[in-house]
């Protein structure tokens, strides 16, 4: 089994209240499906990039900067970590996740344990 990160990158979304409710419901249903299967490891949605702080501990003094690490139009909105036997299985789950959250999903394998 390999762990894959399914990440959701998107720009500012402008949904109506009704659309948002539909998407929340679809994601909840997808999460429930995933939790009932052996693929579920962890998942979460993130607060907006304006809530981010970058901490740099590489120098002698730790510095902190307001805002996300990279200023881009698209940002990480949320992610799933799943267990899958191979890429095809991960892609199949990602396709369902993308449909539920109504944006594309990036699939990336975690490095396997040394």
């Amino acid at each position: 089994m390999t762990q894959y990160l399914l990440s959701v990158h998107h720009a500012e979304l402008s949904y109506t209240e009704e659309q948002s409710q539909e998407i929340f419901a679809a994601v909840d249903a997808f999460n429930a499906e995933l939790q009932a299967s052996s693929a579920w490891v962890f998942a979460g949605g993130l607060e907006g990039p304006e809530s981010a702080t970058v901490v740099d501990g590489t120098g002698s003094a730790v510095t902190m900067t307001d805002g996300p690490y990279v200023e881009t139009k698209e940002h990480l909105g949320g992610f799933w970590v799943i267990d899958a036997p191979d890429l095809d299985a991960a892609l199949e789950i990602a396709a369902r996740g993308s449909k539920a959250c109504a944006v594309p999903v990036e699939v990336r394998p975690f490095q396997s344990a040394p």
Partner: protein, 405 residues
Amino acid sequence: MTQAATVVERLHQEAWPHLVASLARRFGDLDVAEEAAGEAFLTAVERWPVDGVPPNPTGWLFTTAQRKAIDRIRREAKREAKQVAASTIHGGTPEPTGPVEDDTLRLMFVCCHPALSIEARTALTLRLLGGLSVAEIAHAYLVPETTVAQRITRAKSKIKTARIPFRVPSAQDITERVQGVLGVLYLVFNEGYLASSGDDPIRADLSVEAIRLARLLRRLLPADGEVAGLLALMLLTEARREARLAPDGTLVTLADQDRTRWSRQLVSEGHALVRERLATGEPPGPYQLQAAINAVHTSAARFEETDWSQVVSLYDHMVAIQPSPIVRLNRAVARAELHDPAQALAEIDALDLDGYHAWHVARAELLRRLGRPEEARIAYERAIRLAGNPAEAAHLAGRRDGLVG
């Protein structure tokens, strides 16, 4: 050529994909498989002319390649002072080793996996299944060897780290994945049939290779209609190769081709496949329909004898399953032969294909027939600018210069 060299060459065509596939399956690593297969052939090239061809040359190649692969794995294990990961290509639960053909089919699905870029898919397919060298692929695609080598290396690395499985897709998505494999083969074929750039107008080697791989796929999936359809389409297109270029390198269109120069053997093989598919009564997919259209064209002894009503009805079918502007364009061109060219032109004008050279060619030809040479001239000019292929540009320039008025 010596007898040994002939045997090596024949086996390189016949046994290479099976050899790579079987090694990939056994050792779970495409790098090991590719290198060991290459070394086995190299050894054969060196040894057979001296020692003679072994009684079972294919078996000899498999044994030698396996030994080379084991040698390499041992060397690496020693160098890295640890056990090489047992399996890097993941097929889920290990199955008993099936027939070699199953491995080759698996390898096809790996090479044409939709998670790889289309350039990587064609390069991997030509290298691992076609047995073409990196230099040959680079030459065919007019890109530097380092680019091809990098594409192949990156693709193999992604297959390994992202764990693209070495197995035949589940029944649920096999149709779609076979479409992906066919798409890669058709892309290779078309690049050879009418090169989109470069001075060598027909890079026959790529078309021949694509046909060889399509034949292989048909042996592996004999019941698949679209596999048969694509093979038939390629054969019926390839049959006309000789007639497609004039001695001065100008493209000759279907209407003006010397039909006695068509390959009868390829035409009859293509027709047989189309008949076989018709006999099943299954609804045809796009490749089968295109093959059928080409079968109609290649059944006519002269252009004037073409059964246009059948061509149009096949295009109607195409539009129903694949309503793209290009399919509509082709149907309109066929309709112009059957009905009123002015009506066909109106249909074509309504299509949003301004960046597509064939759209301008179709307009130019209809405007010519309708006695509107000035507009035809402009359309030929646009088509010439958009045509990437010199043989086609030369043909269009000739048509433009022949306009009266």
